[in-house]
Symmetry: C2
Amino acid sequence: MDRNRIRPSVSRELALWLLLMRTARVIGRARERELLDGTVSAQGFAILLTILRQGSRATPASISRETVLEPNTISQQLTRMEKDGLVSRVRDLERRNQVRIEVTEKGYQGFLEAAKRPITKTIMSVLNNEEQQMLWGILAKLRSKTLDELGANSKTVYPPAKLSGTE
Amino acid sequence: MDRNRIRPSVSRELALWLLLMRTARVIGRARERELLDGTVSAQGFAILLTILRQGSRATPASISRETVLEPNTISQQLTRMEKDGLVSRVRDLERRNQVRIEVTEKGYQGFLEAAKRPITKTIMSVLNNEEQQMLWGILAKLRSKTLDELGANSKTVYPPAKLSGTE
């Protein structure tokens, strides 16, 4: 079928979501490249942050929820990270059929090192302080509305809806 | 190692990127759910849009570039979509070692149907017109800066930097 001359049209809202997704991905790529010579990957960093934040509540399921990554992806990443000595799986003493995830000393040092890399700061510096705050507020609104639509709990999300909640 | 009491800190810029990525992903999930009973997946839709836009220039590599998805992901998706009868691979008559991708009639109908689904509109409706325009401008700035940092060409990106460029 010859569709060479078709000009497909999508709504502004769909295009805005595509722009959102692709901008996030392309920043992710810059982040991956920056971390190529480190001990921790871009996705690994996000997972370590989640485990450190959740402490003794960190399980594959809770990490999947917070990062909005598929359980499958988390499982593969954790296997690789365990092999690299960044995390370890610990059988939960209270709920014996549950596995908790802990960060090792090597994982923690890798996290600290990756947190210092500058590319995200460099990229975000094209926005002034007011624009960064506006972006934060707009994203929090979109996330909250989407979680409502999905019937999902939005109480334990991270980053928090208010910018002041970080650092 | 007991890291239960560590409160990990990340810069505001890193947190803002995480928020961006996760907001995009959670909207993606709503979009996936909305398309569960359709012929086209959320990612399939983005790929069909790209092929229709690029016309006879559409190859796996060009689709990967525009969607900011890994070549590997595109390859897997195209295989599945070909099996589903949504796209077909065509050997390029001019450059014989190249494969072009075309959308089939079934793929085109699936694209049109998926383009009409309302969830993205519903979600974006929490933002007024001015906020949508602000978000668009901010994202375009971030994307352009990131592509500069990556040394990548930003001339052929989609969606375009100017909101008026769509529809």
